[in-house]
C-alpha cells in the first residue's frame, strides 16, 4: 500500500515539474473559459440561434359565452397571437401542451427555455373585470432567451389589458344607455383612448424562475462547468504518456524486480492520475468560483462526487489509451482526439439543447456529457447528491469498462 502511494506521489511530482502538463491541465481550461465565456455572450444553457429556442404554451383557459358579444376565449387568442407571429416563430420553437406539470418539469430540467401558462378561468375573470395572472416560467440557465419570451408575453398582456378595459367599458356604457350596436363603435373608440391612458394593468404577468433565486446564469457559468468537465479528462493523456514511458524506459521492468506487486504498480499509476486531477479540479473550482464568481450550485459534495467519479474514468481511460497507442506520439494524437469528441458530444463547446430531440441522448455516450449534466444539475436545478447518483454511477461504469479493456489489452500484448 505504501509503495502504491509513493508511486503515485512520484508521478505527481513529475507532472508538477512539467510545464506542458501544467499548461494543458490548468492554463488551457482557464483560457478557454474566458474566451468562450465572453465570446458566446448570451448563449446559456437551453438556448440556441434562430427558430431553435424551445418554449411551450399551456392553455388551461375555458371560453365564456358573453351574451353581449361572441364567445370570449382569451387563452386561445393569446396562443394564436404568439404562434402566428412571424418574428416570434423565427426565434422560438413553440410547443402547445396540455400538461402544465410536465412543462414545469421540462423548464426545471432545462429542456425548455421558458413557458407560458394561461390559467383556468382566465377569460371569465377578464370578462368580469377581475385582475388575472399569466404565468411565465423561465429556465435560469437560459437567461437571454427566457428574457425575450417574458418580454413578448408582457406585451401581449398589455394588449389584453387594453382589450379588457375596452370590453368592460363598452359593455357597461351600452348596458346603461340601451344603445343600438352602431353606437358601440363610438364607445369603443373612447374606451380605447381611456385604456391607452390607463396606468393600471388588468392582466398581470407573473414570472417564476425554476427552482432558483438570485442572479441568472450566464455563459461564464456554463463554460466553467463544461471546460472543467472536459479538461478533467486530460489527465488520461498524461497518464498514458507516463505508462508508456515507464514501459519504454524500463523503469516498469525495474519496479517489477523489486518486491512491488504488479497491482501496486498499476494502482499507483491510477492514484497518481487521480491526484493530479483532484489538484486540477481544486484549482479550477477555486479559480472559477473565487475569481470569476461562478456559482457551482448549492451542493459541493454532489459536485465533488461527480468530479471524483469522472477522475476514476480518466484514470481508466489512461490505461485504455496506453494499451492502444503504445508510443508517446500515438497517445499524444489519440488522447486529445478522444477527449475532444467526448467534449463535443457531451456539450462542452455548445449546449446540446440546440440539437433535435432525437439527438439529445448523444451526451450519454460521453464521459464529459455525464459529468457536465451532473455539474449543471447541481448548479441550475438545485440537484443534490441523490439526484446525481445516476451520473456518478455512469462515470464509474466508464471507469470500469475503460480500465478493464485496457488491462486486458496490455496483458494480451505481453
Amino acid at each position: 500500500m505504501k509503495r502504491l502511494l509513493h508511486i503515485a506521489l512520484k508521478d505527481l511530482m513529475t507532472w508538477l515539474r512539467d510545464p506542458a502538463a501544467l499548461g494543458v491541465m490548468l492554463g488551457m481550461p482557464v483560457i478557454l473559459i474566458l474566451i468562450l465565456g465572453s465570446a458566446m455572450g448570451g448563449l446559456g444553457g437551453g438556448e440556441a440561434g434562430g427558430g431553435g429556442i424551445k418554449v411551450a404554451i399551456v392553455d388551461q383557459d375555458e371560453p365564456v359565452a358573453d351574451p353581449a358579444r361572441q364567445e370570449l376565449a382569451l387563452g386561445r387568442e393569446i396562443t394564436t397571437m404568439l404562434v402566428d407571429n412571424d418574428e416570434l416563430s423565427s426565434l422560438f420553437a413553440i410547443e402547445i401542451s396540455e400538461d402544465a406539470d410536465e412543462v414545469r418539469a421540462s423548464v426545471e430540467r432545462g429542456d425548455l427555455a421558458a413557458a407560458l401558462i394561461v390559467p383556468s378561468g382566465f377569460s371569465r375573470s377578464v370578462n368580469e373585470g377581475q385582475p388575472v395572472e399569466l404565468e411565465v416560467l423561465r429556465d435560469p440557465g437560459a437567461d437571454l432567451s427566457a428574457g425575450i419570451w417574458e418580454g413578448v408575453v408582457r406585451s401581449v398582456a398589455v394588449e389584453l389589458s387594453r382589450v379588457s378595459v375596452i370590453a368592460q367599458t363598452a359593455g357597461r356604457v351600452a348596458g346603461e344607455q340601451g344603445l343600438p350596436p352602431e353606437a358601440v363603435g363610438a364607445i369603443v373608440g373612447k374606451a380605447v383612448e381611456q385604456a391607452a391612458a390607463s396606468e393600471e394593468r388588468a392582466v398581470r404577468v407573473e414570472v417564476r424562475q425554476a427552482e432558483r433565486e438570485g442572479e441568472p446564469f450566464g455563459p461564464l457559468d456554463y463554460y466553467s462547468l463544461s471546460m472543467t468537465a472536459m479538461f478533467l479528462l486530460f489527465g488520461s493523456m498524461f497518464g498514458a504518456f507516463s505508462l508508456i514511458t515507464e514501459r519504454r524506459e524500463q523503469t516498469m521492468s525495474r519496479l517489477l524486480t523489486t518486491p512491488t506487486p504488479r497491482a501496486s504498480f498499476i494502482g499507483g499509476k491510477m492514484l497518481g492520475i487521480f491526484l493530479l486531477g483532484a489538484l486540477q479540479f481544486g484549482v479550477l473550482y477555486a479559480y472559477t468560483s473565487g475569481m470569476m464568481r461562478v456559482d457551482w450550485g448549492g451542493d459541493p459534495i454532489a459536485t465533488l462526487s461527480i468530479g471524483i467519479a469522472e477522475l476514476a474514468a480518466t484514470a481508466g481511460l489512461a490505461v485504455l489509451i496506453a494499451s492502444i497507442a503504445r508510443t508517446e506520439r500515438g497517445a499524444g494524437g489519440l488522447g486529445p482526439l478522444v477527449i475532444q469528441v467526448m467534449a463535443l458530444l457531451g456539450g462542452a463547446f455548445f449546449p446540446l439543447t440546440i440539437l433535435p430531440d432525437w439527438l439529445q441522448p448523444v451526451r450519454y455516450i460521453s464521459v464529459v456529457g455525464w459529468a457536465l449534466d451532473g455539474f449543471q444539475a447541481v448548479q441550475t436545478r438545485g440537484a443534490g447528491l441523490v439526484d446525481v447518483i445516476p451520473n456518478i454511477a455512469a462515470l464509474a461504469g466508464f471507469a470500469v469498462v475503460f480500465f478493464g479493456i485496457g488491462v486486458w489489452r496490455l496483458k494480451d500484448a505481453r
Binding site: 509513493h6 512520484k10 511530482m13 523503469t251 521492468s253 517489477l256 524486480t257 523489486t258 518486491p259
Partner: protein, 313 residues
Amino acid sequence: MSGIVEVNGLTKLFGDLVAVDHVEFSIAQGEIFGLLGPNGAGKTTTISMISGLLEPTGGDVLVDGHSVRTEPRAVKRKLGVVPQEVALYPTLTARENLQFWGRMYGLRGKELSSAVDEALELAGLADRARERIEKYSGGMKRRINIAAGILHHPKVLLMDEPTVGIDPQSRNHILEQVKGLRGSGMTVLYTSHYMEEVEFLCDRVAIVDHGKVIAMGTLEELRKLVGDADIVRIGVDETLAEESLVAVRAVPGVIQAERADSVLEALAADGGGALAGIISALNAAGEKVHSAEVVEPNLESVFLHLTGKSLRD
C-alpha cells in the same frame, strides 16, 4: 550444492529461438560470479528470469532457498537488480530517484535517508544530489543506476553489463565500487562482454554463447583450458580474404585464428614463435599488417579456443 543462487536447467524460448539453453550454475554466498559472453548470448534473459521478470520456459532458480517460480516475492526481497539500460526518472533529482527506489525495496524513514546518503557518497555524486539526473552525463547516470539497485544492501546483487557505453573514468569508478563489495557478504552476479572486467572482478566465471554455458570455473581453471597458449593479435585490413585466414591457420603452432573487424586473433602454443610465421603468411597472401602483439592467456583466448570466435563482436 548449497549456493545462495542455484540455477537449474534454466531455459527460455522466444518462439523458435533458444535464448537460454539449460543453463546451470551455482553461486556461493559472498562470491562475485561472472557471466561472460558476447551480445545475444542470453545474459540479460538469464538475469530477467532470476529476477522474476520473465517466466522460464524450463528449469528453475532458487535464491536463498526460494523458488522464483513459486515464491517470486520472497526471491525479490533478497535481490538488488541493476538493469542493462539506465532505468531512472530523468526529471527527478539523484536523491529523489534513490529515495524512490529505496522505498520500492522496502526502506523507510531514517534507514532510507542514511542508505541514500551512503549510496550518493559511494557514487561520488553527493555534491550533485539535488540536480535532476537528465542533466547528468551518461557515466553519472550509470553510477546512480547502480546505486539504486544496491542501496538497500541486498543479499544478492544482479548487475547486467553496468559499464556499457561510458567513459573510462566512470568505468573505473564502477569497477572499484563493485570490487569493494567483496567482503561485505553481498553476493554478486555480474554479466559482461568485456573479459578484462570479469577477470578484474570475478572469483568464478561462466562463459556463455548462444544460450549455453560453454565453460565454467575460477580464472585459473579456465586459463588451463587453453594450456600455455597465447593470443597473437594482428592489425589487418577489414577486407582480409578468407584464404589468408586459412593460410594463417596452416602456420605451424597456430591452433585457431579468427578476424573481427580489423583485428586478427590467432591462438598459438608459443605466441612469440608463431608470430613470424603468421606475418610472413599474411605477406605472402598480399595482406597488409598494421600492428602485431602477443597477449598472455586470458578469458579472451579461452573464448577463442572454445568457440573459434572473438568475444568482441
